[in-house]
């Protein structure tokens, strides 16, 4: 594994890591300054004003509102500088850019299963190219895990029943630690993997060498057919008894209860697992639940397929000819492996 040249700082290998280190050094500087200031003053007073005779009684002092104000306001200003800096960096880091390459991650006691949008699968290893933005879409089959890459300074919980995301842009080729940072049971400390950052050309070769697998969208299309989604949502997601799916992803959907919801990953997942939760306006509650019938990985494949369905001119081959917008999700689903 790579190490850093700065002692006690992990290797710096993403566009974020340098910025985060700067904030960390600022916070450390302020901490060290105040610790030295307080202990310095403390030691000075303790020596200077030591008890010299057993019966001396110093004069009492009144407090000082000026001083109280001073040492409330100054720390508050410093704290606000930390707050603003930390929040600004966090906002920047929490919103994945639109052009990011998507990688699907499923956590499971005690391994990481990863699938690239081109179909390559990996376990406990994530290969990524340097210089490209990567967005991780993550969920778990069992308990809460946490996908933590110290060299990139990013971490996010991976939560059953929902999708969480995080993104990064790696800068330096090398191999870096991938830790599960949320305690997840017996072999938690064995849930260690690695993130391998490669030069883009090298990465393309690596992809080519592993090209035998189906892309998630194609696998999703097969599930779409075998699970029978096709009979209501149409072969190309054009809709029918069920709402149209083509062009659905990212749009606002009108619900039968009068609300609107954005068709994001979480909405689509919910509509497969629990279709009655958010009914699209104009459609009846006729879709069966797919809870327990589809694994998290299959759900992600269905999601990838639905994302790939674009509104196209009629007659176009491949996934996704035309449909009227207004759509909703298709059936598919989710196996939740229950523990004891």
């Amino acid at each position: 594994m790579q190490t850093s040249w700065v002692p006690f700082v992990p290797p710096s290998a993403s566009t974020l890591s340098g910025k985060l280190d700067a904030l960390y050094f600022y916070l450390s500087g302020v901490t060290i300054f105040f610790t030295l200031l307080i202990s310095g003053v403390l030691i000075f007073f303790v020596i200077k004003y030591r008890r010299r005779t057993p019966w001396e009684i110093p004069r009492p002092v009144a407090g000082s509102h000026k001083l109280e104000t001073l040492w409330s306001v100054i720390p508050f200003i410093i704290a606000m500088s930390m707050f603003v800096w930390g929040a600004q960096l966090f906002f920047e880091q929490s919103r994945p850019p639109n052009n990011a390459v998507e990688v699907y991650v499923v956590g499971k006691q005690w391994m990481w299963k990863i699938q690239h949008s081109t179909g390559q699968r990996e376990i406990n290893e994530l290969h990524v190219p340097a210089g490209r933005k990567i967005k991780l879409i993550m969920t778990t089959e069992d308990v809460i895990h946490d996908f933590f890459i110290p060299a990139f300074r990013i971490k996010a919980d991976v939560i059953p029943g929902r999708y969480t995301t995080q993104w990064f842009e790696a800068t330096k080729p090398g191999s870096y630690y991938l830790f599960c940072a949320e305690y997840c049971g017996m072999n938690h400390s064995g849930m260690i993997g690695s993130v391998v950052v490669m030069e883009p050309t090298e990465f393309d070769d690596w992809l080519g060498g592993n090209a035998s697998q189906q892309s998630p969208a194609v696998a999703g299309q097969q599930l779409y057919e075998t699970l029978g989604c096709v009979s209501c949502h149409g072969a190309a997601g054009e809709g029918g008894r069920g709402p149209a799916l083509a062009g659905l992803f990212g749009r606002q959907v009108f619900l039968s209860n009068g609300q609107t919801v954005k068709a994001d990953e979480a909405y689509i997942r919910e509509s497969v697992v629990n279709p009655q939760a958010k009914l699209v306006a104009g459609f009846g509650p006729i879709m069966p639940t797919f809870q327990g019938q589809v694994s998290e990985e299959q759900l992600m494949q269905i999601l990838a397929f639905i994302k790939s369905l674009q509104i196209q001119t009629p007659g176009a081959p491949g996934p996704g000819p035309a449909a009227t917008p207004g759509a909703v999700a298709s059936p598919t689903t989710n196996t939740r492996s229950r523990g004891r």
């Binding site: 594994m1 190490t3 006690f8 992990p10 985060l20 904030l23 960390y24 916070l27 901490t31 610790t35 307080i38 403390l42 007073f45 004003y49 030591r50 008890r51 019966w55 001396e56 009684i57 110093p58 004069r59 002092v61 407090g63 001083l67 109280e68 720390p75 704290a79 930390m82 707050f83 800096w85 930390g86 960096l89 966090f90 906002f91 880091q93 006691q109 809460i144 933590f148 110290p150 971490k155 996010a156 919980d157 939560i159 059953p160 029943g161 929902r162 969480t164 630690y177 940072a181 949320e182 305690y183 049971g185 017996m186 938690h188 064995g190 260690i192 939740r336 229950r338 523990g339 004891r340």
Partner: protein, 552 residues
């Protein structure tokens, strides 16, 4: 010094008023109940410390040598549960608070002596149930009990342990209730709110959190048990629940619980700093109200435990802001304590050494909390050793040091005997050095990326882990020394005067140990808190008791 103080008359006090087991187990005397608590929390502290020893030994090497995964997971879980629920939370309030709240305000006892005894029995029952769970097979969920691991996947004794915590919560609630009523209704004539020692203000603020927060953890544990036993879908997403809901409920109590642990410590430190520098506290009302501010704002910051748990960006931002805001009252306290020393008459007795250590360590603990309140750095640091180091600085560097300082300070009053001063100073120094060596390296480990709750770890983290274990060994020795000499001093220590430190506080104006009813006469308070005799009256400081008696 002794020349100014008449020898203490040997007479009836709360310790020798009655003899026999029954006189202890059925006592309604707050001082005896404090001693019952002292004995039982010391037992739990030793058990928790034993677990800590196993953790540090296992972490000496990157492989699993001493403990396998299942055992290690139980050991760190049980270390956390025992230390948090059965040592830290009751530590200062149930022992020193129980003993001193009535004495400091000039009352004969707490408002509800029977409820006070009941709270100890409830504590004991909670403790026994938990110990049963540990002996029967233990629990491996982490002290945080995160769902759905705790509800659906763990096959350890989750419900039994939860039951122990549930029961124990009631003892906390009863103690808090008792303190609030006592402080409101039983202050001696003349003891106005702003003459109260800051120890009392701190306990008042703590009691508010105890009665408002503890019911929430009780509800949470109950829901957890329901879900585990009956599979109702509260937290399990497969049954329509929300696993993150648990984290909200859990931290809604457990973050304020941090203030339950540290506020009484701050109260002790205010006493020590003022009394061992013979000065009134600089900015008394600021220190008093900062305790209340911490108690109130402490309820609004739980979401900073969920920055990486899929919480909305804006919720994260608000919680981050409030977390920074709650740091200000703590900063105010530190500055005021430091300013109190200015032009004081500072002695280097053991309790003062602990107090000075507290200020230094609490400063580090508080400042490193800012790293975790800031959103971006928290993302990298949460669930790493940085967090472990941070909260140990608050709970061990803060609460434990304050507890030890307070215990030494009031030891002569509690037992009627002096502890050996040389040994006291020596062990305070050892504790300080050992503590820093244990936990400073863990900040570095955290930023390097070492996750918590790992016992198998990459080899490059080993050097810092070895340092930490070395520090823990020193800390362990530093904590064992007082155990021996304090027990020794109960029999062989020098007989303590009524007022060995020559202080104005009410608890020092009665004999050591106090009589069962605390004071011979109901005291009438005519002085401000920490009002030392003006210089011209210097020579009568040691005669406070006689002076007080005359006045009544």
């Amino acid at each position: 010094m002794e020349t100014f103080v008449p020898p203490v008359p040997s007479r009836i006090n709360y310790l020798n008023a009655q003899y026999g087991l029954k006189s202890w187990l059925l006592t309604k005397d707050h001082k005896r109940i404090a001693l019952l608590y002292l004995g039982s929390i010391s037992f739990f502290f030793l058990v928790g410390g034993l677990y800590a020893m196993f953790i540090r030994l296992e972490l000496l090497t990157p492989q699993a040598d001493l403990l396998q995964s299942t055992t290690y997971n139980k050991v760190f879980t049980q270390h956390g549960i025992i230390m948090v629920f059965f040592f830290l939370i009751p530590s200062i309030p149930a022992t020193l608070g129980n003993f001193l709240v009535p004495m400091m305000i000039g009352a004969k006892d707490l408002a509800f002596p029977r409820i006070n005894l009941l709270s100890w029995y409830i504590y004991l029952l909670g403790g026994i149930v938990t110990i049963y769970a540990l002996l029967a097979g233990g629990v491996d969920t982490g002290w945080t009990f995160y769902t759905p691991f705790s509800t659906t996947f763990s096959n350890s004794y989750v419900v039994a342990t939860g039951l122990g915590i549930f029961i124990n919560g009631f003892s906390s609630i009863l103690t808090g209730l008792n303190f609030i009523v006592t402080i409101h209704t039983m202050r001696a004539p003349g003891m106005t709110w702003f003459r109260l020692p800051l120890f009392i203000w701190a306990h008042y603020a703590t009691s508010l959190i105890m009665i408002l927060g503890t019911p929430v953890i009780a509800i949470t544990v109950l829901l957890l048990a329901f879900e585990r036993l009956a599979h109702i879908g509260i937290f399990d997403p497969a049954a329509g629940g929300d696993p993150v809901l648990f984290q909200h409920l859990f931290w809604f109590y457990s973050h304020p619980a941090v203030y339950i642990m540290v506020l009484p410590g701050m109260g002790v430190i205010s006493e020590l700093i003022a009394n061992f520098s013979r000065k009134n506290i600089f900015g008394y009302s600021f220190v008093a109200f900062s305790s209340l501010a911490i108690a109130v704002f402490g309820f609004l910051v739980w979401g900073h435990h969920l920055f990486v748990a899929g919480q909305s960006l804006y919720a994260g931002m608000i919680f981050s802001f409030l977390s920074f805001a709650v740091s200000i009252p703590s900063a105010i306290k530190v500055f005021n304590w430091t300013a109190t020393l200015y032009k004081g008459s500072i002695s280097y007795d053991t309790p003062m050494l602990y107090a000075l250590g507290f200020i230094g360590l609490f400063t580090i603990g508080g400042m490193t909390g800012l790293f975790l309140a800031a959103l971006a750095t928290d993302v990298h640091l949460s669930d790493t050793y940085f967090v472990v180091a941070h909260f140990h600085y608050i709970m061990v560097g803060g609460t434990l040091l304050a507890y030890l300082g307070g215990l030494h300070y009031w030891w002569p009053k509690i037992t009627g005997r002096m502890y050996p001063e040389g040994w006291g100073r020596f062990s305070a120094l050892i504790v300080f050095v050992g503590f820093n060596l244990t936990f400073l390296p863990q900040f570095l480990l955290g930023y390097m990326g070492m996750p918590r709750r790992y016992h198998v770890y990459p080899a490059e983290f080993q050097v810092l882990h070895v340092l930490s274990t070395a520090g823990a060994s020193i800390l362990g020795v530093g904590l064992l020394i007082p155990l021996f000499y304090l027990i020794w001093s109960m029999r062989y220590g020098k007989i303590a005067e009524s007022n060995p430190w020559h202080l104005p506080g009410l608890e020092w104006r009665t004999q050591s140990p106090p009589p069962t009813e605390n004071f011979e006469y109901t005291p009438i308070v005519t002085w401000e808190a920490y009002e030392f005799a003006p210089p011209e009256e210097t020579r009568v400081v040691g005669k406070f008791r006689e002076e007080a008696v005359e006045k009544f």
